[in-house]
């Protein structure tokens, strides 16, 4: 089938402002949107620029706006978006070139929530025990691939770029609810800050955007409830 693909282009070193290029490509309905981009890049316009790696939704490189929704280009099929598609970079981060945005601020926010297990007790010879029930409490938030689809779909983030954002909070949740971690209080202090979890307005865009199906808004609500209960 033939698809028409309208792509937002911008190279800050040569272009005064962003513009759209329109391409037509012959693809299969079962092809991924990433295959459409590759077909264009390889056989028509080598200057088209985007990130990609695994091509099956686990590395998180190719999050972008496809027909107005944040998706991974490798995890959405042509038949699901139709024969006309508009592709733009994620919103809220500086565009480096075409669909590539500056991810540094995103990873800085991730690092800010101390996204690692903290347990200062001497480790046992074998594993630390954890019941399947305790393990289940944070299962959903271990799935995060740091693609930024959630954070860049979040209206409070658009209006306040200092908001730590849903992706960082998902990763805070992953450790706050891990029975092996001992520093929930440190993280709680960080995320109950002015630009922390209370900026969330439960718009649910993040949950809709997550390509891993994480219940992002729910995770943030669990964090909020925990902050409140721990304070009480």
């Amino acid at each position: 089938m033939q698809v028409t693909c309208k792509i937002r282009r911008y190279n800050p070193t040569v272009d005064e402002k962003p513009y759209f290029s329109v391409y037509r490509a012959e693809v299969e309905p079962t092809d991924r949107v990433l295959d459409v981009l590759n077909t264009i890049k390889w056989y028509e316009d080598g200057t088209l620029t985007y990130r990609r790696s695994c091509a099956h939704g686990v590395c998180g490189s190719d999050a972008m706006r496809i027909n107005g929704r944040n998706r991974l280009a490798c995890k959405v099929l042509v038949r699901d978006v139709g024969n006309r598609m508009t592709i733009e970079p994620m919103m809220g981060f500086k565009v480096l070139r075409d669909l590539v945005v500056d991810m540094e601020p995103f990873f800085e926010k991730y690092k800010a929530v101390k996204p690692y297990l903290i347990n200062d007790e001497p480790a046992p010879v074998t594993e630390r025990l954890q019941s399947p029930e305790d393990r289940a409490k944070y299962d959903d938030t271990t799935k995060c691939i740091l693609c930024a689809a959630c954070t860049t779909s979040c209206p409070p983030f658009w209006s306040n770029p200092d908001f730590v954002g849903p992706a960082a909070l998902v990763n805070a949740h992953r450790f706050i609810f891990d029975s092996r971690d001992q520093r929930g209080a440190d993280r709680a202090a960080i995320i109950s800050d002015r630009d922390g979890v209370w900026r969330c307005r439960t718009v649910f865009n993040c949950t809709d955007a997550c390509p891993r199906g994480i219940q992002v808004t729910n995770a943030m609500e669990e964090v909020k409830r925990k902050l409140l209960y721990d304070r009480a």
Binding site: S61, P115, A123, L129
Partner: protein, 576 residues
């Protein structure tokens, strides 16, 4: 731009991060990790089914049984001293990952859960054993995330989106690398005392592959350019269960949980080939069984695929133990794996061969194991050799954590013992010329067409079933494509985030790797592990119980051999 560090790690997958974490334990040692991707994008994250370690959480198990399975699984081309080290240290490495925070799935008692996997057995082959430690079916993702998290905790320096361009060697001593900052096109020189390549595999040489688009063997070929031989490159694994036509990996854990392979008549055909382990025979064998079924007309509707059947497992097992697999099948095939059969075909998956190293990750240059001082390799780009002619499922994750760790520890010792070697004059001259040529050639061949032709040729003639005629034809094609590549031209002339430039350089590495793979496959006139020759269908220990070493020389490729290290397990016929 010039940088000076004590240690440089190239690649931010499991092996690279594990090494970086070891180096980070030493406050005096300055380490930088360079990667063409952000660390969390590395292909370790795509590993699914588990990491093998004889914890014995469900049933009796021993590192020695694991070693035996690894040696037999590798069709006795495994260096047994290295396999012993790996299987012994697998146990402490898995506990260390757990202490780092890795969220393993748990048994009812709260221990790390374990499941069956292909070729892993109790008591030297009696029956399958539960050895694969897993976190649902995203174990690699969890390992990658956990190691990256620990690197953040230990404030490791990352240079993300820097493309490796060259290794710097001065008078036989490795003393740095050249890299391109992808974002602005600037060339950087990193001067160091120890350099680790953990640059991963090269599945993108084949049309159907489970590998990321980034898996193009850059590090492997850059090492070869500096006189390092490549070991056992003909040993390339095809994983039996890739999504039909797409190649996306569907974990062996699916068969570990009881999944069954069926042909067009619905028959469980593994019963005819491997009566003891059935669907859990090692990957090289199961891939061959599938090719055989297809060849004899028993592929589904006579085509080149068979079915993976999970319908008898029930929704609970599929959704909870194999959630990512279920998601892949639904998204890419529009199929419900709980109720429908999944079309699968073997997919190019893993390089057993690569840069030869000793058990401390030091790169060795010949059969005498002379090292190149300062140069290390670990993970899929390296060949220790613990996988021999065929890697067992779960052993790639074991390999990266055990040998990434050992390499990191050895580098730390080396750094404390030696001074910086001076850089040779103009160490970036080669890279600048290479970039300049690609950026200035006005017109020429299309990289996309060369790549497509290469991938089709490798899939057709250098995959699961090989013959002299097919290999020679492929050799000729690759030579022609290499010629065409000398005239390749790109459209994008920008230095700013030029991904077309990078893809074109990666194609150059894939062409060279294909040439070497074919050379190794032609000289190995026997069938062993993943290397199956229709014209030499038996294993030939008298002539080929040895590793191939292929060197690039100005006069073309040169093949040499290296003995296999045998300690406890004498080669026997391989039956399952």
């Amino acid at each position: 731009m010039y940088h000076r560090f004590d240690a440089i790690v190239v690649g931010a997958g499991g092996a690279g991060l594990m090494a970086a974490l070891q180096l980070a334990q030493h406050p005096g040692i300055r380490t930088a990790v360079i990667s063409k991707l952000y660390p969390s994008r590395s292909h370790t994250g795509a590993a699914q089914g588990g990491i093998g370690a004889a914890l014995g959480n469900h049933e009796e198990d021993h590192p020695e049984w694991h070693t035996f399975d690894t040696v037999k699984g590798g069709d006795y081309l495994v260096d047994q001293d290295a396999a012993e080290v790996m299987c012994r240290e697998a146990v402490e490495s898995v506990y260390e990952l757990e202490h780092f925070g890795l969220p393993f799935s748990r048994t009812p008692e709260g221990k790390i859960d374990q499941r069956r996997f292909g070729g892993h057995t109790r008591n030297f082959g009696e029956a399958p054993v539960r050895r694969s430690c897993f976190a649902a079916d995203r174990t690699g993702h969890m390992i990658l995330q956990t190691l990256y998290q620990q690197c953040i905790k230990h404030e490791v320096d990352f240079y993300s989106e820097y493309q490796l361009l060259d290794l710097i060697v001065n008078d036989g001593v490795c003393c740095g690398i050249v890299a391109l900052n992808i974002k602005d096109g600037e060339v950087h020189i990193f001067h160091a005392k120890a350099i680790l390549f953990a640059t991963g595999g090269f599945g993108r040489a084949w049309k159907i592959t489970s590998n990321a688009l980034s898996n193009t063997g850059d590090g492997v070929m850059i090492a070869a350019r500096h006189g390092v031989p490549l070991e056992d490159m003909e040993m390339y694994q095809f994983h039996p269960t890739g999504v039909y036509k797409l190649g996306i990996l569907l974990t062996e854990g699916a068969r570990g949980e009881g999944g069954i392979l069926r042909n067009d008549s619905g028959e469980r055909f593994t019963e005819r080939y491997a009566p003891t382990l059935l669907d859990l025979a090692p990957r090289d064998m199961v891939s061959r069984f599938i090719y055989q079924e297809v060849k004899e007309g028993r592929g589904i509707k006579g085509k080149d695929y068979v079915h993976l059947d999970l319908t008898h497992l029930g929704a609970d097992v599929v959704e909870n133990k194999l959630p990512d697999l279920a998601d892949f099948v639904r998204v890419y095939l529009g199929i419900d794996p709980v109720r429908e059969l999944i079309p699968i075909q073997p997919t190019a998956h893993y390089a057993m061969g690569g840069i030869p190293t000793d058990i401390d990750g030091r790169v060795v240059l010949n059969a005498e194991e002379d090292v190149m001082p300062g140069f290390y390799a670990a993970g899929e780009c390296a060949c220790v050799s613990v996988h021999g002619a065929n890697r067992l499922g779960t052993n790639s994750l074991v390999d990266i954590v055990v040998f990434g760790r050992r390499a990191g520890k050895h580098m730390a010792r080396h750094i404390q013992e030696v001074d910086f070697t001076e850089l040779p004059p103009k160490p970036d001259a080669f890279s600048r010329e290479q970039l300049g040529q690609l950026l200035s050639r006005e017109s020429g061949e299309s990289a996309a067409e060369i790549r497509q032709h290469l991938q089709e040729e490798m899939m057709d003639k250098v995959s699961v079933l090989r013959t002299e005629d097919k290999l020679k034809a492929a050799q000729k094609t690759v030579a022609q494509l290499k010629q065409a590549y000398t005239r390749v031209a790109i459209q994008d002339r920008q230095t700013w985030y030029n991904s077309e430039l990078l893809e074109t350089m990666e194609l150059g590495y894939l062409l060279d790797i294909s040439e070497i793979t074919i050379a190794g496959a032609l000289v190995r006139k026997e069938s062993r592990g993943a290397h199956y020759r229709d014209d030499y269908p038996s294993r030939d220990d008298a002539n080929f119980l040895k590793h191939t070493l292929v060197y690039g020389t100005p006069d073309g490729l040169m093949v040499r051999y290296k003995p296999v290290k045998i300690t406890k397990f004498e080669p026997k016929e391989r039956k399952y």
